[in-house]
């Protein structure tokens, strides 16, 4: 089984996309006005990760927190989807735009690093708007 990039083995591609998801999650956490990042991956996949986290809390919980952006490939296109909480003191549309720009830049760099010229589609949704100080407690 191969993915759309250079006939690379699917396992490598999956690992690469997990890395990309982790990188993009980190990018989001550094965007001013983003106060939390939620899991945007399909429920079944997220549930499997949650069970793994219960079995090995330290390692899996850390991984769970780290890779929350959904990365999907279809033909010559990679779509990254992120769900975030925004700071109530900021403007949510502006925060979303900043987040999308950061995701696009990081995803494009990742693709170039893998000799891929895939078109990058970025989707960002605010699922919660709350004061930053509350989000710090929630994600501690």
């Amino acid at each position: 089984m191969t993915d759309a990039r250079d006939g690379a083995p699917a396992d490598d591609a999956t690992r690469s996309d997990d890395d990309l998801s982790r990188d993009l999650t980190g990018v989001l956490r550094d965007v001013p006005g983003i106060v939390d990042v939620f899991d945007a991956r399909p429920l079944v996949r997220a549930a499997v990760r949650a069970i793994a986290a219960e079995l090995d809390p330290d390692r899996e919980a850390a991984a769970e927190r780290a890779a929350l952006v959904l990365v999907e490939r279809s033909g010559p296109r990679v779509t990254v989807t992120a769900h975030v909480a925004t700071d109530r003191a900021a403007s949510t549309p502006e925060v979303l735009a900043r987040a999308a720009a950061g995701l696009r830049s990081a995803a494009a760099a990742h693709e170039r690093g893998h000799a891929s010229d895939a078109e990058v589609v970025v989707r960002v949704r605010a699922r919660l708007i709350e004061p930053a100080q509350e989000a710090v407690v929630a994600s501690a």
């Binding site: 970025v122 605010a126 708007i129």
Partner: protein, 223 residues
């Protein structure tokens, strides 16, 4: 609109603590998932709040719906503890219906709902806010107004279509004795400002309905 002069404080929400209120709709016969928020019952959320959100539960904190429900439950808890204990002792049967109705509404509001689009000049970028996030914001802004408890929020109109006219409807309970007209004006201004800051909705009206009154913490047992 109801004025404080023609509604009895006894019609309002007397209090119980969160777990008890949550129990009203998360009873043994109903714990089948349909009364939960992302698989977590409101009773569990109430207990979690009472523990000060410790130890941290990633299943709850990682769920936007649970976080929205926690925000709302916190408001209910505040009003229960601080404002309505006297009424609960006086007319406990009223408390059941009021709290359960409010929690039922909260559970409906935290479901993700429709996407509220945010414009992006890049055709390969899609930005949006969930309907639940917007309704949670409205509830939060309303609950922060002294003497107000938000009972329900609604976004009427095609909120998933950019530029479509949208009417916001917020139903609240007001503390007995407050000037309702001024309160409604204040709420309308705050809600409109919050929507301007966080969405690109074309809001054509913000309707504030005050359909209940309640006693404040310092009020006597009779008005």
């Amino acid at each position: 609109m109801t004025s404080p002069d023609d509604a009895l404080p006894g019609d309002g929400p007397p209090g119980a603590d969160l777990p008890e209120g949550a129990d009203l709709i998360a009873g043994d016969d109903e714990r089948d998932g349909t009364d939960s928020v992302d698989g977590v019952s409101l009773e569990e959320l109430g207990d979690y709040l009472d523990r000060g959100r410790e130890p941290r539960d990633p299943r709850i904190e990682g769920s936007p719906a649970c976080r929205l429900a926690l925000q709302a439950l916190e408001s209910v808890g505040d009003l229960s503890r601080e404002s309505f204990e006297r009424e609960a002792a006086r007319e406990p049967h009223r408390d059941d219906a009021w709290i359960s109705g409010l929690l039922d509404q909260v559970r409906r509001e935290v479901v993700e709902g429709r996407p509220v689009p945010v414009h992006s000049p890049d055709p390969l970028t899609e930005l949006s806010t969930s309907e639940a996030a917007v309704r949670g914001l409205l509830r939060r802004v309303g609950d922060e107004v002294d003497g107000v408890v938000v009972r329900s929020t609604e976004l009427d109109g095609a909120i998933d279509e950019p530029g479509a006219p949208v009417t916001v409807r917020v139903t609240v309970s007001a503390r007995y004795g407050l000037p309702i007209d001024e309160l409604a004006d204040q709420l309308r201004d705050l809600l409109g400002a919050a929507l301007d800051q966080h969405t690109e909705l074309r809001v054509v009206a913000v309707d504030v309905h005050v359909d209940d009154v309640h006693l404040g913490p310092d009020d006597g047992s009779t008005p």
